[in-house]
């Protein structure tokens, strides 16, 4: 029997003037590292790193399910709403969780849409963070598919979404973790993946903000997998080039969900990224 060191709790924060019950998990101690999941998924993507004693010995990893995702409920009245994530709502949510959990300038590590919002926060709210690890993150990606495919009454959006995103998983990924990664997409609530993709594929507001990011105050390290068709190494390189002082690492054998699809392969790249982030002063939790 194994009981993992990850603990899960709920915090209620105010977003858009209304209370939201947010599920979060954490493991470790020391420097806080807030981890953001990809579109159509949840906190489980981070479980391997949160169970990694070598990382949690000096890093307090915290991950939360965005509203509508995982164990975080959608807002009251969701049954008549169309879920469409926006940059503004995403930023408000991340900042509300930081305040709600009392995190002192955490490192922000986000993957895919989480990486995109990490770069937005680097541009707009850098004072709240000590550094940014943007994984499979780029300035903007228009959809190479129709996002409406994933929310329709005559087919299962989750299964279709999983089949689509499997294109972004490396053939080097262990079979078990490939399918665990896809399972989260299969479980995604109706319209949620589509609503996340609306943010990811339609909002290009980050592009002019990239040159304003001050990496002398808050470093930005971008990591990208060679098998990522959505955010390619070329996309990530273009993005890194637009941020003065940003650094880039390309993972030759990984895809779009590295911490979930191939945790062993991702680990050294994440450790390297953490080493690039400043150590906080003693007042950090």
């Amino acid at each position: 029997m194994t009981i993992e060191p990850i603990t899960g709790r709920y915090v209620t924060v105010t977003i858009d003037g209304a209370p939201r019950r947010i599920y979060f998990e954490e493991a470790g101690q020391g420097r806080p590292v807030l981890c953001l999941h990809t579109a159509g998924a949840d906190t489980r993507q981070w479980r391997h790193l949160m169970n990694d004693a070598g990382i949690t010995a000096s890093n307090r990893l915290i991950a939360f399910d965005m509203p509508w995702h995982g164990k975080s409920l959608p807002p009251e009245g969701f049954e008549t709403q169309e879920y469409l994530l926006t940059t503004e709502a995403y930023i408000e949510t991340v900042l509300a969780v930081i305040d709600g959990l009392g995190l002192d300038r955490p490192v922000l590590a986000g993957c895919s849409m989480g990486g995109r919002i990490a770069l937005q926060l680097a541009a707009l709210h850098a004072d709240k963070f000590s550094g940014f690890i943007a994984i499979e993150a780029s300035d903007f990606q228009p959809a190479w598919y129709d996002i409406d495919w994933f929310h329709r009454p005559d087919a299962h959006g989750g299964e279709m979404g999983a089949a689509l995103v499997s294109a972004n998983i490396s053939p080097y990924a262990p079979k078990t973790e490939r399918w665990n990664t896809l399972w989260m997409f299969m479980q995604s609530g109706p319209g949620v993946f589509r609503g996340d993709l609306s943010f990811y594929t339609r909002d290009d507001s980050l592009i002019p903000r990239l040159p304003t990011i001050d990496t002398r105050r808050t470093p930005v390290h971008i990591i990208v997998g060679a098998y990522d068709l959505t955010c390619t190494p070329e996309d990530a390189a273009r993005t890194a080039k637009a941020i003065p002082g940003a650094t880039l690492a390309v993972m030759g054998e990984l895809g779009h969900f590295p911490m979930s699809e191939h945790p062993e392969g991702f680990r050294p790249f994440f450790v390297e990224a953490l080493e690039k982030m400043p150590r906080p002063t003693a007042k950090a939790a």
Binding site: W144, A163, A167, K175
Partner: protein
């Protein structure tokens, strides 16, 4: 190439989970390789016929058009980036998908796993 599709056809019969996934899929798919046509006809998940073209009278639901070199790379155990998925072929400009793409998307896992039955390694890569 026709032998490869025949191999897929026989291999599919030994994959009960794929036959279950494809149980609502009864369509003809055109695979065009270097301009040569292959019509794969499915009936309730079974690949009932593989017919080499050209044909102007065979209706098809959707088509994957690519080249033999790309498919050979696609069928490697661990393809290089871009050759690891049919949408990768499209992304790198080595493939085109047209026709009723929604039909493909509704049956995407099934179709992708059927195509990878010819992959060098036994392990399925969706």
């Amino acid at each position: 190439m026709i032998e490869t599709f025949k191999h897929i056809q026989s291999s599919l019969e030994a994959m009960p989970h794929l036959l279950r996934l494809g149980r609502l899929f009864s369509e003809t798919v055109l695979i065009e390789i270097d301009g040569n046509e292959f019509y794969l006809s499915f009936e309730k998940g079974h690949l009932v016929s593989v017919v080499e073209g050209p044909s102007r009278k065979t209706p098809w639901r959707f088509a994957l058009r690519t080249d033999a070199d790309s498919l050979n790379k696609f069928w490697q155990a661990r393809p290089e980036p871009g050759f690891h998925d049919i949408f990768g072929l499209v992304k790198i400009g080595r493939g085109r998908i047209d026709g009723d793409i929604l039909s493909l998307v509704k049956n995407l896992r099934f179709f992708k796993e059927v195509l990878t039955l010819a992959r060098a390694k036994e392990e399925l890569v969706a």
